[in-house]
Amino acid sequence: MNIFTSKIYLDNIEVIAIIGIIIGVLVFASTLFYVWGLLKPTADLKELKTRTNSWWAMAALIIITTLVHPALSFIAFGLLSFVALRELASISKNVRDEDRRVIIWCYLAIPIQYFIAYKGWFNIFVIFIPVFMFVWIPFMLVIRGTTAEIGRAMSVLPTQLMLTVFSLSHLAYLLSLPNLEGFHAGGRGLLLFVVFLTEINDVFQFIWGKILGKNKILPKISPNKTWEGFIGGILSTTILAYFLRFLTPFTGIEALIIGFCIANAGFVGDIIISAVKRDIGIKDTGLLIPGHGGILDRIDSLSLSAPTFFYIVYNLYYAG
């Protein structure tokens, strides 16, 4: 807990700038929705308000942990993965009662994966879950001895690990990337870039959908999502990425392409989790008690945009 290490990061004018922008945007959003709610009490702003509140929490988490001690960020992201995995395992109907002891192995993979990320062991980082855990979990299921519907459990549990642990751990790994010459913002800048763009992409899609939305894009999975919102969101995010490229080592063209990829990946992550939830019937039957917004809704877009972004950056600038 060395408070003086924060000096290093405070020297980063880019990081300070983006922290300022994030806080500014959040203050603006909170005020906007508050005033909007006062002026038009009938407007349904619950979704927007809960989202803003969770961004406050996420922003606070990222800012505080990166300023106090880098290792804290890894613990914080690990905890986020844990809560998300727990939520997914709890609502999944494909997790059998006999699997509860095997789920402990899934939970144990979290500290290991984040420790590997902290150490920056890239070659182990990329195989630990997609290769090792994909063998280990079925093995543990098999030695428990119940074969009925074991195939489902074998595929569902590792997939849940991918969606909640493997994906999010890439955010943490950004902080372990080595320094590049002439690029000051470093992993912190990249982290803020991808998180900020992913979250703002959700907002852009929502707002464009509200303003122009007519043609539904996937009515069976997300009835509120429209082509207009989707395209408007992607264009806005791509353009914004261009202006935020001071956080990254990207050239203008690269920033545009990467922003486009983040926006698309975010959308895909969002609908994957939506489809999983719809399968369980959460959105239809109110299986969970009303008023409870899960953490999965908050990280769904990040779970795909984080690895997408990571591998593009890694292969462009850090590999070899």
């Binding site: 905890l79 844990f82 809560v83 727990r86 939520e87 395992a89 709890s90 609502i91 009662d97 509860r100 002891r101 789920i103 402990i104 939970y107 008690i289 409870h292």
Partner: protein, 205 residues
């Protein structure tokens, strides 16, 4: 001293463990703050149940609330009984009539007369998760004797997955503890009181 010890143990230690690690979510926890004395009645699937309720209590209340526990289980050895007494303030009762232990209803009634609160699982034992067993009559007799006593219904979901009967390994899962508002029984007969409470609990499902 003891109040402080239990208050810190449950209000900080157990509560953060339950919320962060196990994944317990409290709904309408304010219901516990509305009355000074009450009897909490809840469905029962796991040993976690008692901890989850104790962990939800307001700081100063913890010492004043006694879970009613089975003497034949939690008092089966001196060590078990000692641990139960030290950490939970539990009142141990007998479950069969063949022993010369004091009458459970009298023990509970005496605690209520002293102004203390109780936690009761009228199902008697931890049943299969998701299914409620028929309620025992004790709660009906108690509330018939003390019609002025508030009861707080609680419905818990998912505890049987976290730590089922007969399992020793605790596995974190999202669980819900839904508190109903404190109320007095309208019914006056033992059976109808039991029924009223059962319905109040099921309504929270």
């Amino acid at each position: 001293m003891r109040g402080l010890f239990l208050g810190i143990l449950y209000g900080i230690g157990i509560r953060s463990f339950l919320k962060v690690i196990v994944g317990v979510k409290y709904l309408n926890r304010e219901a516990l703050k509305k009355e000074k004395q009450f009897v909490i009645v809840s469905n029962h699937n796991s040993h976690i149940d008692t901890l989850a309720i104790m962990g939800a209590l307001p700081f100063g209340q913890v010492q004043n609330v006694h879970p009613i526990a089975a003497g034949d289980y939690f008092g089966s050895s001196k060590i078990k009984a000692g641990i139960t007494q030290l950490f939970t303030n539990a009142i141990l009762i007998r479950r069969s009539k063949n022993t010369d232990a004091p009458n459970p209803i009298e023990l509970m009634s005496a605690a209520v007369t002293r102004g203390e609160s109780l936690i009761l699982f009228p199902e008697g034992s931890r049943g299969t998760p998701g299914k409620m067993q028929e309620f025992k009559k004790g709660i009906g007799i108690l509330l018939q004797m003390h019609p002025e006593l508030f009861f707080i219904p609680i419905y818990m979901r998912g505890m049987g997955k976290v730590l089922p009967k007969g399992e020793r390994l605790l596995v974190p899962f999202d669980t819900y503890v839904h508190f109903g508002n404190p109320r007095k029984c309208k019914a006056t007969e033992v059976e109808t009181i039991v029924k009223e409470i059962e319905e109040a609990i099921l309504q929270l499902n």
